[in-house]
């Protein structure tokens, strides 16, 4: 076995010009504080969380299955989506320059940010330049990743999240647990409690009827929207050949943020690009059906630079690297950059359904998050929490089937497991066991001997024929499952007895 000490760590310390680097994570939104099994332990014991997640993911899975089955060219659309994103990655620097020139030509201003701090600094300076002390925000993974809200707060600027689920998370001082529905871990009764507690002017007779809760959010935010001077958004798709930006949403809070303020600041990860306007014909079919399970989401806004007389008259686009170049440098792993954040892989994942998003420690949870988080921030030794994320999967493959752009997530998980093993700075117990097994498995004589050693198991099993308790780490198995006694005769012994030879 070849162990490459701290390959990832070395990479992360490389800051030469032009060398890919891992993401900066000033507010720890990409890397958790405990390993996945430890975090999952708490989540699994939370019966309310389990119920909320089970209900929500079952609902969305059924909706998605229904609207996907309506589309008879779904597989062709997936293949096109996959290829368009692969094409984008193959031409990413050139396409970004094209996007920049188109946006600039239409009156927008393009900024480049190497990492999270730089992006935050750019945005804070832009907001300060307007004199505003409050901004309205439409849900954006990129600004969650950089911790922009904390950075704004540090500069004395209040950032108001306007997406309903994001508002729930913000009001309850919680962390998001899902791409699409950051408050998926909360049920209606809990949301009512949060609103009653945290909304200053809420109607005290508020019920837990979802419609009433949505109305409460409308009332809470409406004045803010109508008076907002600065809006901040993310991007679903940016079109290189036209400079067009699109935001896909449901509530109309996005339209409010994109239309009413005088200044619009949009932050996008560099991978959110598609080459041409026509490519949207693929993604506007794939995304809504995969994410909210709708034929089309209620609102999709597209705009190009600044339009005199309509909408914000100042438009800034911040292009964020923050570790993406590091992901792009891995020829297989770069597929993770194809992700359009639909969250279908979360909704179908049996692990996510049971542990929820917080167990992943990153704002990118679920199967794609278990790949992307360690890719973006690196794996620093065997004890890094990031090293546990790629193992947070049974590799059942449901994520690949659901992925609208056919990201081979199970394979990427295996590749990240390999990266975790490569990052072992010292041999672990697992390394030793795996190495010993590998030697046995390439030496047929030793393999037979090892099989005979299993006879010990028959002693352990005794007369009851089952093993019910083993020492650590095998106790992980026997805590909940029996193990059968090894058979009196292995297959190869049977073969020799019945077919001769050996």
């Amino acid at each position: 076995m070849s162990v490459h000490p701290g390959r990832a760590a070395q990479r992360s310390r490389t800051v030469e010009l032009g060398m890919p680097t891992v993401a900066s994570d000033p507010h720890r939104h990409l890397r958790g504080t405990e390993s996945f099994p430890a975090a999952a332990h708490k989540a699994l014991a939370d019966t309310q969380l389990r119920r909320n997640l089970g209900h929500a993911t079952r609902t969305i899975r059924a909706k998605r299955a229904g609207v996907v089955s309506e589309v008879d060219d779904w597989e062709e659309l997936r293949r096109a989506g996959e290829a368009i994103k692969a094409d984008t990655m193959a031409r990413l620097p050139e396409l970004l320059v094209e996007l920049e020139s188109q946006v600039t030509a239409r009156g927008g201003v393009v900024h480049w940010a190497r990492d999270a701090e730089e992006a935050n600094r750019i945005v804070v300076d832009l907001v300060r330049g307007t004199g505003a002390d409050e901004v309205v925000k439409v849900k954006s993974m990129a600004t969650q990743e950089t911790g922009l809200n904390e950075a704004l707060e540090g500069a004395g600027i209040a950032a108001l999240e306007t997406d309903l689920a994001e508002l729930i998370v913000q009001l309850s001082h919680d962390r998001p647990s899902h791409f699409l529905v950051p408050a998926i871990h909360r049920n209606r009764a809990e949301i009512r409690e949060i609103f009653l507690r945290e909304m200053p002017d809420v109607d005290p007779s508020l019920t837990d009827e979802p419609r009433r809760l949505a109305m409460a959010a409308r009332a809470h935010l409406r004045r803010k929207f109508l008076a907002a001077k600065v809006g901040i958004s993310g991007v679903n798709f940016a079109v290189a050949d036209t400079g067009t930006i699109s935001v896909v949403e449901s509530e109309g809070n996005g339209r409010m943020c994109l239309t009413l303020p005088e200044t619009l600041i949009t932050v996008m990860g560099v991978e959110k690009l598609v080459p041409t306007w026509a490519d949207l014909e693929v993604f506007l079919q794939l995304l809504p059906r995969s994410s909210t399970g709708e034929r089309m989401n209620p609102y999709t806004s597209t705009w190009t630079g600044v339009t005199p007389g309509d909408g914000p008259q100042a438009f800034h686009l911040v292009l964020l690297d923050n570790g993406r170049s590091n992901v792009l440098a891995d020829r297989d792993g770069r597929q993770a950059l194809h992700c359009i954040r639909c969250s279908a892989c979360l909704n179908v994942c049996p692990v996510y359904e049971r542990t929820g998003g917080h167990a992943y420690g990153s704002i990118y949870p679920g199967p794609i998050g278990a790949v992307l988080s360690p890719q973006l921030t690196g794996i620093d030794g065997p004890d890094d929490v990031n090293a546990s994320l790629p193992y947070a999967s049974s590799l059942c493959g449901a994520c690949f089937d659901a992925c609208p752009v056919r990201i081979d997530i199970p394979n990427l998980l295996v590749q990240q497991r390999a990266a975790a093993v490569d990052a072992h700075t010292r041999p672990t117990g697992q390394d030793v066991a795996m190495q010993a097994a590998a030697i046995a498995m390439t030496t047929p004589g030793r393999f037979k001997l090892a099989e005979r050693a299993l006879g010990v198991g028959r002693v352990l099993a005794g007369r009851k024929g089952r093993i019910t308790s083993l020492p650590w780490p095998a106790s992980g198995w026997t805590n909940a499952r029996d193990l059968p006694a090894p058979p009196a005769e292995t297959f190869r012994q049977w073969w020799a007895r019945t077919h001769g030879g050996d």
Binding site: M1, S2, P37, A40, L44, P350, V351, R354, T355, P390, Y391, A392, S393, S394, L395, C396, G397, A398, N411, V414, Q416, R417, A418, A419, A420, V421, M434, Q435, A437, A438, A440, M441, T442, T443, P444, F447, E451, L454, R463, G465, R466, P473, A474, G476, W477, A480, R481, D482, L483, P484, A485, P486, P487, A488, E489, T490, F491, R492, W495, H499
Partner: protein
């Protein structure tokens, strides 16, 4: 047809009834079965745990052993395991290419083209769905993830089960959801694995089946180990064993096995 059998490391050492049943079934159908005795393991555990460098010699060994079997006249390779065939078909070449061994990758792809999971071999290659089995029990089928999503065996196992005389096939609710095994996942994330297992067992029990079958001993070890711990009275049996059973009794009944009730 001459068919080389992959006993699988788990089948060889812990669950020999599955490869034995595979051999007996294929022989009953008139085929010649060979057992390349140098075989050890496909390397799946190493690959799926991230030990891709350590997996390389295991993969090479498997490719060489079964490459020789094919060179010596075997027409096909069969394994009573969807996940082992999945590893052979989708991961062997990847491991080789990652190590820069294009020759091994090609040899792996060549071998993989003629390696089949048991139900694939029976239905897609040999063209049989009625294998003449008799199994008078109420059975539910769990489609293992690798059979379902890596190999896309579809309903071939169900076609085979439907043709078994005496067998009452009952539907497993949420059949396509993972049982929570996932190899080292079951130990590394034991609690999450157990939570998934609990739901799978609830589905099995709600089906009122006496027997839960599948094409992979590893998943059955997991589901059966849980059902055994619950003393549920439902047992797990590999698909090959059901297909090998006839009205002259269980094909492997003459074997010396533990007489005690064993979970899986």
């Amino acid at each position: 047809m001459r068919i080389a059998v992959v006993a699988t490391c788990l089948g060889d050492a812990l669950f020999p009834r599955a490869p034995i049943a595979t051999v007996e079934l294929l022989e009953r159908l008139g085929h010649e079965v060979v057992f390349p005795a140098d075989q050890t393991c496909c390397g799946q555990m190493h690959v799926n745990t991230g030990y891709l460098d350590a997996a390389l010699p295991i993969v090479r060994h498997h490719v060489e052993v079964f490459g020789r079997a094919l060179d010596r006249g075997a027409d096909a390779v069969v394994a009573p395991s969807g996940s082992c065939v999945g590893c052979v078909r989708h991961q062997h070449a990847m491991v080789a290419r990652r190590a820069g061994d294009e020759g091994l990758a090609r040899a792996a792809e060549h071998g993989a083209e003629r390696t089949y999971e048991l139900s694939e071999l029976l239905v897609d290659v040999l063209g049989v769905t009625d294998v003449g089995a008799y199994y008078p029990h109420r059975v539910t089928y769990h489609p293992t993830c690798h059979s379902l999503r890596m190999l896309r065996v579809g309903d071939t196992p169900l076609q085979l089960l439907r043709a078994v005389r005496g067998l009452e096939l009952v539907e497993l609710p949420d059949a396509d959801v993972c049982c929570g095994f996932g190899g080292t996942f079951a130990v590394k994330n034991a609690e999450t694995s157990t939570a998934m297992l609990a739901d799978k067992m609830a589905s099995v029990l709600s089906s009122k089946a006496e027997v839960c079958t599948a094409g992979d001993s590893s998943c059955l070890m997991h589901i059966g180990g849980g059902l055994s711990r619950l003393r549920s009275g439902v047992r797990t049996v590999h698909l090959a064993e059901i297909l090998a059973s006839t009205d002259r009794g269980n094909a492997s009944a003459d074997l010396v096995f533990d007489t005690a009730e064993v979970g899986p």
